[in-house]
């Protein structure tokens, strides 16, 4: 069967199945299990309404449980076994990781990514949001800066491979160097600094995201505070750094943490540009190296990533609990 046909059938089955499930399960609940008649119809209605939320939630809970909650446990369990899963080796995989130079380098590089990418993307996003705020063509400018968000990490890596190309008639960087009569270099092979050239790609993508959210936050600042500051003689910079930024600090933190989480997941950029060579390995790409070859070690790396993400997760949950209360 051709995949397209299969896809169409899946859509029909998926959507139709969902609607049928919800419709039928509600029907069964109301008409068969707890019908609003008999000796005590009121109690039956109440009981039906106790069960109903779980009918609505069941498919989602099943999917979330299977595809996101179970893997957390499953991965950890798997990481305690050896390469082919036949032998329990306790924390052996983690010990192996600790002794591996590439792993330590990946942690180090990831640390650099986490340090620079969220900071710079948020910074540029904030600048773009503020500068375009009162501009007539601001929305147009924003949509162009936002555009890389639509591009895949692979596509973006390829786009930047052109910028970084060794050949001065292809790569902009080397074209500029050529103009000043400097020898062409391959930016992706300069030790240490190549990490930063890769980070540029993610910053380029994420600035738009930061800009859109921060722009919304800037619009939400009460006009009076700005007016009062202007009357008191604040200049444009004071207005921005002392009045506006403190008021949107919580949004800045959200943007920052969101990009931080993303940084810990993106393997595509390193994979498509250097393949982790030349000292550019990061944790997600390091994990992909072992995926399919040594699942024990791959899951151990994944669990390390999970542990790094954990504080942000807890913080998010606390924030969400505050809001829903």
């Amino acid at each position: 069967m051709s995949p397209i046909l299969q896809g169409l059938i899946t859509i029909v089955l998926g959507v139709g199945g969902c609607v049928t499930y919800f419709y039928l399960s509600n029907l069964v609940l109301d008409k068969v299990i707890f019908p609003p008649k008999g000796r005590d119809p009121g109690r039956n209605i109440n009981r039906a309404n106790m069960v109903r939320p779980w009918l609505f939630l069941l498919p989602a809970i099943l999917a979330l449980g299977t595809y996101l909650a179970y893997p957390v446990v499953g991965s950890f369990w798997r990481s305690l076994f050896n390469r082919d899963g036949s032998q329990f080796i306790g924390l052996g995989n983690y010990e192996k990781l600790a002794g591996d130079d590439t792993f330590r380098q990946a942690v180090m590089n990831n640390f650099l990514w986490v340090l620079f990418v969220p900071a710079l993307a948020t910074f540029f996003g904030l600048m773009a949001a503020q500068l375009t705020d009162r501009l007539k063509w601001g929305n147009f400018a924003k949509s162009l800066i936002f555009m890389p968000m639509a591009i895949s990490f692979v596509g973006a890596s390829l786009i930047w491979k052109f910028v970084y190309a060794n050949n001065p008639t292809i790569g902009l960087i080397n074209a500029v160097r050529d103009y000043f009569h400097l020898m062409p270099v391959d930016p992706l092979q300069i030790p240490f600094w190549n990490n930063f050239f890769l980070m540029v790609i993610l910053i380029w993508i994420q600035t738009g995201f930061a800009m859109v959210i921060l722009s919304g936050a800037l619009r939400g600042i009460p006009e009076e505070t700005v007016e009062a500051a202007v009357l008191d003689g604040a200049n444009a910079f004071q207005l921005f750094f002392k009045i506006k930024v403190p008021q949107i600090m919580s949004t800045i933190v959200v943007v920052w943490t969101t990009i931080t989480i993303l940084v810990l997941k993106v393997f595509d950029i390193v994979y498509a540009t250097t393949g982790g060579n030349f000292g550019t390995q990061i944790l997600p790409s390091y994990m992909m190296q072992y995926m399919f070859r040594d699942d024990g070690r791959a899951t151990a790396v994944a669990f390390v990533i999970m542990i790094i993400v954990l504080p942000v997760m807890i913080w998010n949950i606390i924030q969400a609990r505050k809001e829903t209360r």
Binding site: I4, R52, L68, P71, V154, V163, I261, A320
Partner: protein
């Protein structure tokens, strides 16, 4: 006051200029890719894409055909056209202009077009800008015309050949269809599942609701990496294995936290009066959901659909793990990252065209539905990679 006004406009100028610089910096890489995708590999290696709109200077060698000589004023004369009838005619498109010519390969640009070159022994050669030439000689050419070198300005040329090759012989066409096949069900199916759950979390009272919301928020940031190995094994055990069905299910699961979160946040904000009014009128939860909440939530549904579409379309990780590695079921990102970057690494025109094929649809969706995307982001979406 005048000084302040002057300062204001200076500041406006500074703002305008910095935004222009930023926009240009953000746009340049993509423009470079787009321009390169329309150039042949030859052109790409001869001049930068930033020069693509300008003519390229190129030197040629030719020999004037010796047959068909005529006699005038006691001299033997050969006339003709280098651009249309010369040996290089195939490479010289209309619009090519000859700038200079010469009679030896050492100095192919010795004479400007239109000047008269001395061939020795009383012979002369004139080559004009339009390619027409006149060669004269005191003695018969005897079928051997003189050699000529010339430098021509080639007009900028663009080609669709990269796209043709990428789509029809490099398998990107198949990959495009595969991406589409993966994306559409994986976008549609989670919406309904999530919408029901979001309604329950937003408008139904039951014990454990707050806990479930917290769980959704927590699952929002679970790294996908964690899911790969256990789920692939699960899929293999239940017989799904690496297949399209497997990737649809996986994307559905991975997309759900964001979907539920976005939709719940939106549904909570719907006016209470409408929903309670309907309840008073005797509508069941199922009816309220289908007839009131779902239609009213359209903007949130649209934003999630766009997110999920972009995310699935652009995904490399899940496709690499959950789809079989054969050529027939590769999606575009995998095709580019694993095949083209390896085997066609130096073929810049092909790479550019392939990349552009893969980003064209997301860009289209992005620019036509940006409103919903922004709204979704502002509703507090937090997901990535």
């Amino acid at each position: 006051m005048a000084a302040i006004a002057g300062q204001k406009s200076l500041l406006t100028w500074a703002v305008n200029i910095s935004v222009v610089i930023m926009v240009v910096a953000w746009l340049i890489p993509t423009v470079g890719l787009l321009v390169s995708s329309f150039r042949t590999t030859d052109q790409i290696s001869q001049s930068g894409w930033w020069d693509a709109a300008f003519p390229v200077e190129k030197a040629f060698r030719d020999r004037i055909p010796g047959d068909g000589e005529t006699q005038a004023d006691g001299k033997y004369v050969l006339t003709g056209d280098l651009l249309t009838n010369g040996q290089n005619a195939a490479d010289l498109k209309s619009g090519t202009v000859i700038k200079a010519f010469g009679t030896s390969g050492i100095k192919p640009d010795k004479y400007k077009a239109g000047e008269t070159a001395d061939l020795g022994d009383g012979g002369t050669l004139v080559v004009n800008k339009d390619g027409s030439y006149t060669a004269t000689s005191a003695t018969s050419f005897e079928g051997n015309g003189p050699r000529v070198y010339f430098v021509a300005d080639m007009p900028p040329a663009f080609t669709l050949s990269n796209y043709k090759e990428v789509l029809f012989s490099d398998g990107m066409g198949q990959a495009f269809i595969n991406t589409l096949t993966v994306t559409i069900p994986a976008t549609i199916i989670p919406i309904l599942v999530a919408a029901f759950a979001a309604y329950a979390l937003a408008w139904m009272e039951f014990p454990g609701r707050g806990l479930l919301i917290a769980a959704v928020v927590g699952l929002l940031v679970v790294p996908l990496q964690l899911a790969l190995v256990p789920l692939l094994r699960l899929h293999q055990e239940v017989g799904i294995g690496q297949s399209f069905l497997g990737i649809w299910l996986a994307h559905t699961g991975f997309g759900l936290p964001l979907a539920i979160y976005l939709l719940r946040n939106y549904m909570v904000g719907l006016p209470r009066d409408i929903i309670e009014g309907a309840k008073v009128d005797g509508a069941t939860d199922f009816q309220i959901f289908m007839k009131i909440v779902l239609p009213l939530s359209f903007p949130a549904l649209a934003s999630f659909a766009i997110f999920q579409f972009l995310w699935v379309w652009n995904d490399l990780l899940v496709a690499k793990v959950f789809l079989p590695a054969n050529d027939g079921s590769k999606v575009m990102t995998v095709k580019i990252a694993d095949d083209l970057l390896g085997s066609r690494g130096g073929d810049w025109g092909i790479l550019a065209a392939a990349a552009f094929v893969s980003i064209a649809v997301p860009l289209l969706v992005f620019f036509s539905m940006q409103r919903y995307l922004v709204r979704g982001l502002l509703a507090g979406s937090v997901k990535g990679g």
